[in-house]
Symmetry: C2
DNA sequence: CGATTAATTGATACTTCTCAAATCCTGTGG
DNA sequence: CCACAGGATTTGAGAAGTATCAATTAATCG
């Protein structure tokens, strides 16, 4: 695998690593290792103790955890410029989620020592990490509220909109992520069959178009009303 | 209100402020203001921009947010030595939750400048904050999974156990927190009537004892089985 | 002690789950 | 490139779990 150059990494702009000095970045550059993951591969396994974090250079991953019945729950996604695994490193706990690629993904592994060194030596870097965690905490709170209070139908409508916001659209206007019906169910917290039935309804009502796993949103406003999304 | 002494604050041991030097702590000590809140008072209001954080010296609070139907969702609790409001400060977003006291509470307000100064000047303090946020993120993921996958019955059983773990027991063996049925419903994400019915069932099955809002757990193992809590 | 809020109980309706069976895709190897 | 195996998707029917509405009763707070 090619050893990518951090200084030119297009993902760095959105990342805490943007805050590092040239010297600090060089240290990262010299010690990191770049890896390529094929679609469906597992990067981190829930319960393990990682030796460092991954910066996603290009690709898409899902973070999921197993419920008490062994069912997968998708917690959130990661994509270009996102950092994966730092929660576990910072808390000193085992990994709370499994990270699986949703498409071919290239990512760089940064050992945890570098992470701690950067925190030790660069408050701006620390602050940037905290900011990121804060955003995630806020997002988690929103998700908690939605799961607790919204119906399955409402949650699915919202999830569809969230996916578009997160991953954007392809040239053809499809939401730029390919998920199985089961994965959608594992985001919403419902049975696969329920997702299928509700998607059919949404299609019937001309809110979306479906071609296999390709999904196009044709009436986002109505979808937002159904999902009670008021942003 | 008395101006409490940080150096002798019993809550400091468990708090990020434990990492501050004597000089740094003196700065906090001189600028902070101590406040007393009666039961039911609101400390922070969702949507506002706080000018700083609160250290809870002694007391209990709930963090909750409003769902799209205006229903309260309780996200988590705070008690002695917990810090409230830092998420919003660090992310620069509005407060994502309302903080309400569940009993009389004394807390100290620390302006955000001090918080940022401490992060700037003391990496150990930063790390301690990050550790705390990491734990909360892990906790949030667990909650998300439970809400998405468990039944109302299971969630209620778990909530009862979580409350005991969080707040401990009184001398009489009751869970040391007083919540209305509605508040329990707003944790579980269900209707108040459902909580009442299920609590009656649990009582019928001799898993718990109920006297008004006093709740005693008499069969935690069975409750854990029902709640599918495998810790 | 009223007055208000909280808790309880009952009846009914609805949403969602579960199980089963049939088709449709997708990725893979020949 | 094509056929095939195994997984993914779809549809149906019935059961179960919760929500909702309404009416009482109990508890709490000035």
């Amino acid at each position: 695998m090619e050893h990518f150059d951090c200084a030119n990494c297009p993902s760095r702009i959105d990342s805490p690593f943007h805050e590092l000095s040239v010297d600090e970045l060089t240290k990262v550059q010299n010690i990191k290792s770049c890896t390529f993951f094929k679609k469906g591969q597992i990067i981190f396994h829930e319960g393990n103790r990682p030796g460092g974090i991954y910066c996603i250079r290009k690709g898409k991953v899902k973070l999921s955890r197993l419920g008490s019945d062994g069912k997968e729950q998708i917690i959130r996604f990661g994509k270009d410029s996102d950092i994966i695994g730092y929660r576990s490193i910072l808390s000193g706990e085992n990994l709370s989620a499994t990270v699986t690629t949703l498409e071919d993904t290239s990512a760089c592994f940064v050992p945890k020592k570098i992470l701690f060194d950067s925190i030790e030596g660069n408050p701006k870097f620390s602050l940037r990490i905290m900011k990121e965690m804060s955003r995630e905490l806020g997002e988690a709170g929103r998700l908690i509220t939605n799961l607790a209070q919204k119906s399955v139908r409402e949650r699915l409508a919202e999830v569809i909109l969230v996916l578009r916001t997160t991953f954007g659209e392809t040239e053809e206007g499809n939401v730029d992520i390919s998920l199985t019906r089961e994965e959608l169910a594992n985001m919403v917290g419902t049975a696969t069959e329920s997702v299928i039935r509700l998607l059919s309804e949404f299609k019937e009502d001309q809110l979306i178009e479906l071609k296999g796993r390709k999904l196009k949103i044709t009436n986002p406003d109505q979808l937002a009303r159904i999902g009670k999304v008021f942003d």
